[in-house]
């Protein structure tokens, strides 16, 4: 398993992401600095971590989406390499156009940090298959701009194509149709606001997020 975590200035969940990945694969991921212009060869998984890349200035994820390393990430994604964007990573994926829609300021305007109950909308994605018939989980959210927006056409398509992976059971941010996480048409890119890497450890936030990594990284070795 060759994995990588992209590190932007202002990323602050990069270490958490690495710990979660290593817990499942037993091997530390490559930490790739935003100024690299090419990724390590033969990656099986790329993660865009949470945080405040470039201070979240202008628009969350906007500047990161245009940083030197991104073209190669986009190439990999288009070639089918699994890519997971969490929180700020989701915002970056949206800004690159790999995922549709936009993430706006939370409806309540306040930053929201809470343990969010989620429903798993489909277990047949590369990121949710390990959940089996589990349908309800709890994963922490912590964001200011997680209010998912897209036009009805896009939303209907996402629903029709089974690309909504997670919904909020108690919508914390005003997201359209309670959307918490979506995949691309190819099913190899997942963006989600909740932090699965903060739920891989019983002492910290429970283990409901572990299956996301087990799904995409081929289960505990």
């Amino acid at each position: 398993m060759k994995t990588a975590v992209i590190v932007f200035p202002g990323s602050n969940c990069d270490r958490d992401a690495a710990v979660a990945i290593e817990r499942v694969t037993g091997a530390a991921p490559a930490m790739v600095w935003h100024e690299e212009t090419s990724l390590p060869d033969g990656l099986d998984f790329i993660m865009l971590p949470g945080g405040f890349s470039y201070g979240d200035y202008l628009r969350c994820g906007a500047i990161a989406a245009r940083s030197p390393v991104l073209p190669d990430v986009i190439r990999a994604a288009e070639a089918g390499v699994p890519v997971l964007g969490v929180c700020n990573g989701f915002q970056v994926l949206i800004e690159t156009g790999l995922l549709p829609g936009a993430l706006m300021r939370n409806a309540g305007l306040r930053f929201v940090c809470e343990k969010a109950p989620l429903t798993i909308e489909t277990a047949n994605t590369r990121f949710t298959r390990a959940y089996g018939d589990t349908s309800a989980i709890t994963i922490p959210v912590a964001h200011h701009d997680g209010n998912y927006f897209a036009d009805d056409e896009t939303l209907n398509a996402l629903e029709a194509e089974g690309r909504i992976a997670f919904r909020y059971a108690a919508n914390p941010n005003g997201s359209a149709r309670d959307i918490a996480g979506i995949t691309n048409a190819g099913g190899n890119v997942l963006g989600m606001m909740p932090h699965p890497e903060r739920a891989v450890d019983a002492l910290h936030g429970g283990t409901d997020g572990l299956a996301v990594f087990e799904s995409v990284l081929g289960g505990a070795q």
Binding site: G10, N12, A142
Partner: protein, 745 residues
């Protein structure tokens, strides 16, 4: 008066001088220098001899704190306190105030407060792992309060969330005494390798001095001095501006500093706090007995035409001063450039013992450093103690008809109501080591040591009501409650940091409060082997002669050797026996009960018997560490009834209290007697704990059973959990509404 002519350097007159220092201080300067100081030198004295930097009113009393102990590596005097947590690691922490700036500009004031305290911790080599905040606002219905709450909370979250350090706990009070002087105290906790701790003292001369971080602008240059000669004709762009923080730069600064610290390049390092360049350069040089020479032309500047005075007094954020080993400048340059931060060699250390500043080729400052420290004013301000209050006889107050209603009133009161509206705006989980934070039923926040199985317990406490009623007992109680909150989780209390917030020390009654609180805290620290390793003093918190209630905020850190062996108060279950540890005399003086039920602030606060405090606490900790006690809660505000209510809400399980005799019923329920804990356990375990208590000579009595969907007393006075939860959780959201947010940022 010293015979020195001219008495004033060019462009300075008496008024300008007095805007910087007192008349006496100016005389001292003349004698020390043997000449009149120029405006830059005057500015430097005004900073170094300010209350903030020189602690001139408090120094003599702060010396009363015990500051050493087996775990203490560095006590007060460094940027932050350092305690040994074993395995070659240390915990580094400090608490600081940002009261006035937060009142002027709530968002930026609170945000820069967080930034400043973080720098105090990582400048010593620690990666920050937790933030706490202790907030005091005015009366809920005061016209300014809601906007201040919205702005301060958004600011703390905005900064802490972005730098990626979890804000794991704190405390919040509302009291009319803070209407025009809110308190924003922030605490940062970090972890470092014991042999990788960095200090500020310049040990060598001839070493390069590097400026790193953000550029210098005209931020926060002291208002009074701006009206002075030099800026009389100050154009708009020359006016001082409020410090604005940039957490993104801070995050990069943390990573860059830690990266540089992992190389063998740093000789000494110091964050730029208030009047950054002045205090940092002076402190680094004088604490090392060296001199320092800076060329201000090399200081990275954000604005045009900055004067030497402005550069030396600027409070621009996210800046550090680093003395590197000769020849290692390139290492620093590489790292800070990588992080897109400014880095510049601006001078060198010297043997002269003087601070020499060059600007545009001219020497604009040449001061001997020793006098700045030695001759710094140190006042023994007159004070008289507050006169003692009579204690309240609980029997003189009539027992309310429905005690469930009484409990409801307290649990929805500003002090007891849920603060979820606040802490849900703080990222409490980033770094993935938070074991317990604000939302969890734990008397202290618990943060695991990354990669290890042990954890830090962290708490922030003080009860201003008590300090007002009796500064000495209140000071003791603040330390005792912090120690108790740590103990109730099973942690070994290690050390204390503080933030002493008071009014104008030139008023003897205020100084009396200060001295009383400090002496009370000091006695408690000695009795509990709980040394003070860092702290901060904030005086002059008053408006129109109205001083804040004395508020010596205490931050404390404890150690949990095995993170899986600890106690919280959220697992009380049907049939559990409720065991009260400690004695109940029913002390209602200065209690929440008195405030919200009798509308009185009267009476003597609960007495703190430190011997009993220690005995009971050591016993409870032993029960938790042996694995017997898994559910325990300390008793504080609102006494037994409120502790039971908090346990019931957290466990979603009611309780049937059984009152037999002793203090009058209302005092038994709401008395705030100290040194008490509530333990919930199955009958068998409870029995074992009770026996152990008997042997240890610790009072322990069964006061009821867990169960049902309500809290009852002798089968009556029922308060159902749903009603309780609604009232407890809705108070703050209802106060804040939704209309404030648009203005918060």
């Amino acid at each position: 008066m010293t015979e020195i002519t001219p008495r004033y350097a060019e462009g300075i007159d008496e008024q300008v001088a007095l805007e910087h220092v007192t008349a006496d201080e100016y005389e001292t300067i003349l004698t020390v220098l043997g000449r009149a100081p120029n405006i830059v030198e005057l500015g430097i004295f005004s900073v170094m001899w300010s209350e903030h930097c020189s602690y001139k009113s408090s120094r003599v009393h702060l010396a009363k704190f015990p500051t050493t102990g087996p775990r203490v590596v560095y006590g007060p005097g460094e940027n932050a306190g350092v305690v040994d947590i074993g395995d070659g690691q240390v915990c580094i922490f400090k608490m600081e105030s940002h009261n006035h700036p937060s009142f002027i500009e709530p968002y930026q004031g609170a945000a820069t407060g967080v930034g400043g305290i973080l720098r105090d911790v990582f400048t010593m080599g620690a990666r920050p792992v937790a933030l706490m905040n202790a907030l005091r606002f005015g009366a809920p219905d005061h016209p300014k309060t809601r906007q201040l709450v919205a702005g301060v909370v958004a600011g703390i979250g905005g900064y802490g969330n972005c730098v990626g350090v979890p804000t794991v706990g704190g405390e919040t009070n509302f009291d009319a005494g803070y209407n025009n002087n809110i308190l924003v105290n922030a605490m940062a906790v970090g972890l470092a390798e014991r042999d990788k701790v960095f200090t500020a003292a310049a040990k060598e001369s001839g070493y390069p001095v590097l400026y790193v971080g953000a550029k210098t602008g005209r931020d926060g240059i002291h208002g009074a001095t701006m009206a002075s000669a030099e800026f009389g004709e100050g154009a708009e762009e020359k006016r001082p501006t409020v410090q604005v923080g940039d957490p993104f730069t801070e995050k990069k600064l943390i990573e860059a500093c830690l990266e540089l610290m992992s190389e063998d390049a740093i000789s000494a390092i110091q964050d730029m706090g208030a009047a950054g360049l002045t205090s940092s350069s002076v402190e680094m040089a004088s604490s090392g007995g060296k001199g320092i020479e800076l060329d201000l032309d090399h200081v990275p500047q954000r604005e045009e035409a900055m004067s030497a005075y402005e550069m030396m007094l600027s409070e621009s954020q996210e800046r550090m001063l680093v003395i590197v080993k000769p020849g290692r400048e390139d290492v620093a340059e590489r790292i800070f450039k990588k992080w897109d931060l400014d880095v510049a060699v601006i001078g060198k250390t010297t043997e002269t013992g003087r601070l020499v500043l060059k600007h545009k080729g001219a020497t604009v400052c040449d001061l001997p450093l020793d006098p700045i420290g030695d001759k710094a004013p140190k006042y023994e301000r007159p004070y008289f103690p507050a006169e003692a209050r009579a204690s309240i006889d609980p029997a003189s107050l009539k027992t309310p008809a429905h005690l469930g209603e009484t409990l409801l009133t307290l649990m929805r009161s500003p002090d007891m109501a849920s603060k979820a509206w606040i802490f849900s705006q703080y990222d409490r989980h980033v770094m993935a080591d938070t074991v317990a934070s604000s939302e969890d039923p734990s008397d202290a926040a618990i943060v695991r040591v990354h990669g290890a199985n042990k954890a830090l317990a962290i708490t922030a406490d003080v009860t201003p009501r008590y300090c007002t009623a009796d500064p000495y007992e209140g000071g003791k109680q603040a330390i005792a409650e912090a120690w108790r909150n740590l103990t109730a989780t099973g942690a070994e209390p290690m050390a204390v940091t503080d933030c002493l917030n008071f009014g104008n020390p030139e008023r003897p009654e205020i100084m009396g409060q200060f001295v009383g609180c400090v002496e009370g805290m000091a006695e408690a620290c000695r009795a509990l082997d709980f040394p003070v390793v860092s702290g901060n003093v904030s005086l002059y918190n008053e408006t129109d002669g109205q001083a804040i209630p004395p508020t010596p905020a205490v931050g404390a850190v404890g150690l949990i050797e095995d993170a899986s062996v600890r106690a919280g108060f959220g697992c009380m279950s049907e049939g559990d026996v409720l065991l009260l540890i400690g004695e109940t005399r029913g002390e209602l003086g200065a209690s929440l009960y008195l405030r919200f039920i009798e509308n009185s602030e009267d009476g003597a606060p609960p007495h703190v018997d430190l011997g009993v405090e220690r005995r009971n606490g050591d016993f409870v900790r032993a029960q938790i560490r042996s694995g017997l006690a898994r559910t325990s809660h300390d008793l504080s505000d609102g006494g037994l009834a409120c502790a039971v209510a908090e346990m019931a809400l957290a466990s979603n399980c009611g309780a049937k209290l059984a009152y037999e005799d002793g203090a009058p019923l209302h005092a038994w329920l709401f008395g705030e007697d100290q040194a008490r804990y509530l333990i919930a356990a199955d009958a068998e375990t409870a029995d074992a704990i009770r026996k152990a208590a008997q042997e240890a000579g610790v009072p322990a009595s069964v006061i009821g059973l867990a169960g049902g969907e309500a809290i009852t007393v002798n089968g009556a006075h029922a308060l159902d959990l749903l009603t309780l939860r609604q009232a407890h959780e809705r108070w703050l959201p209802d106060l804040m509404g939704e209309d404030m947010q648009a203005a918060a940022e």
